[in-house]
Symmetry: C2
Subunit: 695 residues, 2 copies
C-alpha cells in the first residue's frame, strides 16, 4: 500500500476549526466533505461545541480518537499552537490556513513541520485549498462542492488557480481522480503526490501547475518511474530572466531557468503547455482518447477554408495526412457527393449534413488504414444543427475506443452549442481548428515510444580527479588552472591532446620537443581569464627558436598587461588541425542540480544561442538527442559534400561529462570550449572548471 | 465618390432567380435584403412571376429598369446565358452561383467576365455568399439574416468560412461595417474592396481571410495607401511546401510562398494571425480600444497563478510592465488590502471583490502614468460574481475611450458568464490570459509608428544593362555568363572588383598583370554550373608562372570532367581579403513578382535558413530592416571585439538590386553569393543571373 493511501483514502477525518457560519471556510469544508459522499468518520472540532450541518462538534482535539487526516482551518497563530496536539492524533495534516512563508513567516511554518516530524505525521500545505480524491470519495476543499469523477489527477502549486481549475473542469465536464493543492510545500511536495498518482489505478493523465521546484533532482527521479501508460501535462509559470544571474561560464549564462525546465520536461517525457487553455484541451483529449495505432490522419470537412487551415496546422505540427488516394477513394466512395474531393482533407462539400457525416465517420472509424480522425464543420446558414449534433455524438460514442477522433466546429451559437454538448459527453471537441490539431499532436507525442537506456557507470580515475579538486579546495581556489582542468578531463576519459606546464624556457623547449612541433603556447594564471586579450597566447610555434621567442613574448606581454598576475607557467600543447568547433558544458541549477549543455562553438553559441540542455547525468541515447536537437546539427552530419563528423565521439564526451559532474558535485561549472570534432575523434582544446569552495 | 460606392450603397437591387420556396438561396437572399432594412428599390426576377415575401416578381429582366446591383442565384449555365442581358442593366453583378472555375469550368467564368466587360459592368464572384454593407444598409447574402452593425470590415476568399464568420461575429457581438466574399475573383478582387474600405468612414479594422493572391503586386500598391488609422488583420491559409518548386538559385529555393506572404504582410504593416481564434480576438480588441499613449502596462489581479502567467506572457510578447514602485504604491495605496502587493502584477489578493476591482480600475484609468490595463480575475468558490460583472462593465464603459483595458477571467460557469456578458458590451474580455496578452500586444503593434520612405530612382546605366540582357535573350540563353552578370551589377552601381574574361593564356597573363596579382581564375561556361566540382577554379594565383599553370590545369580539368562543355574562357579576378560573407538575392514569385532576400553566406543560409525577404522594390529603411531582421545580425554589428561591418554598403547593395530587378523584369533570379562585407565597403565576388526567355 502506498504511504499516501491514508491521505487520498482516509478512514477518518477531523476538521480543526469547523465553523457554524455558512460561507466561512471552516463551514464550507465540512459541507463539501458531507456532500461528497465521504463514508469514513468525521470529527468536527470547535471550542463552542454544538452541531454543524447536523454533525456533533467536539470542544477539544483531546476528545477525539486518532484520525487519518486532520484539516486545519484556524488562524495561523492558533494553528502553530495546536500543531503538536494535532500531530499526535493525525497521520496527515492538511493546513488550509495561510499566512506562513508566503508572506515571510518562515519560522511559524518551520514550527508546524517540527511538530509533525516529532509525531511522524506529514503536512500538506500550508496555504492550500485542500484535497479532493475520488477514491474515498472525499472533497476536503473549500472550493466548489461538486467535483465530477474521472481519470484526471491535478496538482496545483497555486491554491487560487486550483479552485478556478475545479470550476473550469466542471464547465468542460472533465472528470477528476484527484485534485491536490500543495501550496507552500513545507513538507509534502509534488514528488510524493506524483508517486501516489503513478500507482493510483483511477488516474490516467496528470496535470501539474508549477511555479517553481525546490527539489528538481528528486522530481526527475520520481518522473523516471512514471508508468508508460500515464501521461503528464505541465504548465510552468514564472520565467526568470537569465540575465539576472551572475555566472562565469558560457553554459551558465545561457542556462536560464526556463530553458532548464524545458530540458527537464523534454527529458522526462512531460508535455509542456504554454497556456491554461492548451493544458485543458490536451488533458481532455488524452483523458478521452485511445492511443493512435499509426500515423495516418484523415481530415473530414464540409469544405470552406477549414480544411485548408487544418492541413496547414497538421504540416506545422508534423502530423501525417494519409495520402493514399486510391484507398481514400475506396473508403469514401459511397459517401462522396458531386464536386466532393477524396484528396485529404476529404471534402464532403457544403451540402454535407448529418447523414453524410455519419457515413463518412463510420467509414473512417472502420478502416484500419486510418489511425486518427479530425472531423471539421463550418457553420452554414441553413443547416439542421440539432441532428448533426446528435449524429456526431452517437457515432463517436459507438466507436470511441477504436481510434482517436477529434472535432472542431466553427461558427456562431449553433456550432458553439454542438461543441458544448460534445464536451459534456467527454468527446474531444473544439471551437477552433488549431486547438484540435494541437491536441491531436500532443496525443501523438504522449504515446511516442520512449526508449529508456541505463546510465552505466564508466571507469574514471576517481582518485586522481578527487586529488586535483581537493588540492584546489584546500588552497581556496574556485577556478582550476587550465592544466588541472585538462587533467581531470583526461582522467574522465576524454581525448585531451598532450599538454605540459613549463616553468621556464628550458622546460618549454623540452616539452615542445616531447610533444612535437608545431605547438601552441598559452600563459597559465589564475588571475588571467582572457589570455588572448593580454597577449598570452602564441599559436603555430614551429621550432625551438620560435618557442624561445614565444616564451619571452608571452612573459613580456603578461608583465605589461597583467602586471600583478601570478603566473604558474606556460602551457605547451599540440597544435591541432582545424575541425568543427563545439562546446560542451555543465552548470549547476538551484533546483535541478547539474545541467549539461551542448552547441557548436563561437557564433552559434554566442549569437544564435543554438544550444541544447539536459539534467545530468544522461544516457547516451539522451546525449545523442542533445546533439541532434540543435539547429546547426546538419553541419555535424555533413553538408556541402563534407564528411560526417564523429558524432559518437561528441556523445561519448557529453556522456562522460554528465557522469563526471554528477559524481563530483563540487564541480559547479565546466566549459570545454572548444571541443574540436573531426571525422574521427573529438579533442579537448580548452577547458575551464569552477569548483564550489565551501566558505 | 469611390467607384464601388454603388456596390456598397446601392439605390436599387435586382435578384435574378428570386425563389418562392423558403429555404432556397434565391428566397433567403430576398428575405435578408428585406429584413436588413434596405431602403432602395428591389426587383425580383423569376419567369413564374407572382409575389415573393410580399414583393412583386418580374418575369424577365427586360421588364425592369437599370439597377446598381444585380444578384444572380440561377444555375451556372443559365447565369452564363443571361450574363449579357444582366450586364446591360446592372453596374455590379454579384454571382452567388457556384460551378465555375473552382471546379474547372474556366471558360464559363470567362464568358461571364466578357459579358460584363462589354457593358462596363463589374462582377463580384462567382461562387460567393454575397455582400453585407451597413452603410446602405443591405444584407444581400444567403447567410444569417441578422448582422450587427459596427466598425469591422471583413473580406473572405472562402464563402463557407465567411458565413461561419458571420455566425461567429454575431456570437461575439462584433459589429460589421461590411462583409464581402470574393470567391473566384473573376473580376473584382481584394484590391478593389480594400480600396473601398480604406475610404469608408464606417470601417476601422479590416479582417481578411486569404488563401492565395494572384495580384500580389497590386495588393502591395493598394495597401501602401492604407490610412494610418485603419488596421488590417489577415489570416493566410494554404502553405505550399517550398520544396515543390524547381528553382535554380538559393533565393528561389528558400522563398516558399508562406515566407513571402510573411514578408509582404510585415512590409505592408498587416497583422498576421495564425488562427481564426487569434484573428477574432485581435479584431475585437482593435475595434473596441483606443490607441495606447505609451508603453506602461499594469496588470491587476486577485492573485493566484494568473498574475504570474500574465507576466510571463508580457515578457514573451515584449510588453513593458510599469515598474515604478513608488508611483504604483501611490496609485493603489487606498485600494490595497493587507498582504496585497504593489509590485506589478498588482495583487489585490483573493479577498478582492467588486468594490476592490472598481477602485483599482478607477485608479488605473485615471492615472496618466499607466497606458494600458490588463485586469485578471481567478474564480473563487465564494465570490459574488454578479456584482463583479456589473462593476467591471460599468467602470469600463465609463472610461473606455481613455486607454486600452483588456480583461481575462479564468474559472468555470461563473467567469464564463462574465466574459460572455462583457463581450456583448463590446469590451475586450477573454477566457484565457494568453489571449488577452496576445491581443494587447497586437494592439500595440497596430499602432506602432511606421516610417515610410520614398524609393528614389537611382542612376544606373540602363542602356548597357539592356544590351546584355537582350543579347542573352536573342541567343536564347536563360543563364547569363559570370562576366555578364558582373557587368550588369557594375552598371547597377554595385562594387564589383576588377574582372576580365581571358580567351587564351596570353590574355590571361595580360589581364592578371592589369588587375594585379594575386588573382583568382575561374572557368566561364554556360554548361558548367558548379565550377569548383569540376576543378574549374584556382585561387591565390601569385605570378605569371602560376597563372600559366592554373590556366592549363583548369582547361585540363574541364576537358576531363565536363568534356562537352562549351568554354567561353577563364575569368580573372582580383583575390579579395577575407571578410564577412553575405548573400543578396532576388527571385520571382508568381503572385508578388520580384522578391528580395538577404542573409549571411554559407551555413547561415544553407543550414540555418537565417534569411529575410521583401517584395521589391524597397526603400533603404526597409532594406535596413531586412538586414537587422536576421538572427545572425550581431555578426555584422560586431561581436567579440570585432569592428562593425559596413552595413550601409549592404543596404545600398540590396536597395540597388531591388531597383534593378524591378526595372528589368526579365531578370527572374539573381544571386550575389558571396557579397563580402568589410569594415568599409561590400564587394561582389560571385554573381548569377537568370533571364526569362520568352518561348
Amino acid at each position: 500500500m502506498h504511504p499516501l493511501e491514508s491521505l487520498f483514502n482516509p478512514q477518518s477525518v477531523a476538521v480543526i476549526g469547523a465553523s457554524h457560519h455558512e460561507g466561512k471556510i471552516g463551514n464550507i469544508v465540512v459541507h463539501n466533505i458531507i456532500v461528497s459522499g465521504y463514508k469514513g468518520k468525521i470529527y468536527l472540532i470547535n471550542p463552542k461545541g454544538g452541531k454543524i450541518l447536523g454533525l456533533p462538534v467536539y470542544k477539544s482535539i483531546d476528545d477525539i480518537p486518532s484520525v487519518d487526516v486532520a484539516v486545519i482551518v484556524v488562524p495561523a497563530k492558533i494553528a502553530v499552537e495546536m500543531a503538536d496536539k494535532v500531530a499526535s492524533k493525525a497521520k496527515y495534516i492538511i493546513v488550509i490556513t495561510s499566512g506562513f512563508s508566503e508572506i515571510g513567516n518562515i519560522d511559524m511554518e518551520q514550527k508546524l513541520v517540527e511538530s509533525a516530524r516529532k509525531h511522524g505525521s506529514r503536512i500538506l500545505g500550508p496555504n492550500v485549498f485542500g484535497i479532493f480524491s475520488s477514491k474515498a470519495p472525499i472533497n476536503a476543499t473549500f472550493g466548489p462542492a461538486e467535483i465530477k469523477k474521472g481519470n484526471i489527477g491535478v496538482i496545483s502549486q497555486s491554491g487560487a488557480l486550483g479552485i478556478a481549475m475545479i470550476g473550469k473542469a466542471a464547465e468542460d465536464n472533465l472528470g477528476l481522480s484527484a485534485i491536490v493543492s500543495i501550496g507552500n510545500k513545507a513538507d509534502l511536495s509534488e514528488v510524493e503526490i506524483l508517486s501516489y498518482l503513478f500507482q493510483d489505478e483511477l488516474t490516467k493523465v496528470i496535470f501539474m501547475y508549477i511555479e517553481g521546484l525546490e527539489n528538481g533532482h528528486e522530481f526527475m527521479e520520481i518522473v523516471k518511474k512514471k508508468p508508460e501508460e500515464k501521461k503528464i501535462i505541465a504548465l510552468k509559470a514564472g520565467r526568470s530572466r537569465a540575465g539576472a544571474r551572475a555566472v562565469a561560464s558560457h553554459t551558465g549564462s545561457l542556462a536560464g531557468s526556463d530553458e532548464i525546465f524545458d530540458a527537464a520536461f523534454r527529458q522526462a517525457g512531460i508535455l509542456r503547455a504554454d497556456s491554461l487553455e492548451d493544458a485543458f484541451n490536451w488533458v481532455a483529449t488524452i483523458a478521452a482518447s485511445p492511443p493512435p495505432k499509426g500515423e495516418n490522419v484523415v481530415i473530414i470537412t464540409n469544405g470552406g477554408g477549414l480544411g485548408v487551415i487544418a492541413a496547414d496546422a497538421c504540416e506545422k505540427y508534423g502530423l501525417k495526412l494519409y495520402d493514399d488516394m486510391e484507398m481514400l477513394q475506396k473508403i469514401f466512395e459511397d459517401v462522396m457527393p458531386e464536386f466532393g474531393s477524396y484528396k485529404n482533407p476529404v471534402d464532403l462539400t457544403g451540402q454535407a449534413g448529418a447523414r453524410e457525416y455519419e457515413l463518412a465517420l463510420r467509414r473512417a472509424f472502420e478502416n484500419d488504414a486510418i489511425h486518427a480522425i479530425l472531423a471539421l464543420y463550418c457553420e452554414r446558414g441553413d443547416a439542421e444543427l440539432e441532428s448533426l449534433m446528435n449524429t456526431l455524438i452517437r457515432v463517436h460514442k459507438e466507436y470511441e475506443g477504436k481510434k482517436p477522433a477529434l472535432y472542431a466546429l466553427f461558427g456562431g451559437e449553433g456550432t458553439t452549442k454542438i461543441v458544448t454538448e460534445m464536451k459534456k459527453d467527454r468527446i474531444p471537441a473544439f471551437y477552433e481548428v488549431e486547438d484540435a490539431v494541437s491536441s491531436l499532436h500532443v496525443l501523438y507525442k504522449a504515446y511516442e515510444k520512449r526508449e529508456e537506456e541505463e546510465i552505466e557507470d564508466i571507469e574514471m580515475d576517481d582518485d586522481a580527479i578527487r586529488k586535483i579538486i581537493d588540492a584546489a579546495i584546500n588552497e581556496g581556489r574556485s577556478r582550476l588552472l587550465s592544466h588541472e582542468a585538462k587533467e581531470i578531463l583526461l582522467h574522465a576519459g576524454l581525448d585531451v591532446p598532450p599538454f605540459r606546464l613549463a616553468g621556464n624556457i628550458d622546460e618549454a623547449i623540452e616539452y615542445a620537443n616531447e610533444i612535437g612541433y608545431p605547438v601552441a603556447m598559452k600563459v597559465v594564471s589564475e588571475d588571467i581569464i582572457h589570455k588572448t586579450d593580454v597577449g598570452g597566447v602564441v599559436l603555430n610555434v614551429e621550432n625551438d627558436e620560435e618557442a624561445i621567442d614565444a616564451y619571452e613574448l608571452i612573459m613580456k606581454n603578461c608583465h605589461m598587461h597583467a602586471r600583478r598576475a601570478r603566473i604558474e607557467g606556460i602551457e605547451i600543447t599540440k597544435m591541432l588541425p582545424p575541425g568543427t568547433e563545439t562546446i560542451v558544458g555543465a552548470t549547476t541549477d538551484a533546483s535541478f542540480g547539474k545541467v549539461l549543455m551542448f552547441g557548436l562553438g563561437g557564433i552559434y553559441v554566442e549569437v544564435l544561442k543554438d544550444v541544447s540542455f539536459r539534467i545530468a547525468p544522461i544516457s547516451k541515447k539522451e546525449a545523442e538527442k542533445m546533439v541532434r536537437e540543435i539547429d546547426s546539427y546538419p553541419i555535424l552530419a555533413g553538408i556541402r559534400g563534407e564528411k560526417r563528423k564523429d558524432i559518437n565521439a561528441i556523445i561519448d564526451s557529453i556522456y562522460r561529462i554528465g557522469i563526471l559532474v554528477n559524481k563530483f558535485g563540487e564541480i559547479s561549472e565546466l566549459d570545454i570550449n572548444p571541443l574540436i570534432v573531426y571525422e574521427k575523434g573529438a579533442k579537448v582544446v580548452d577547458a575551464r572548471i569552477m569548483i564550489k569552495v565551501k566558505k
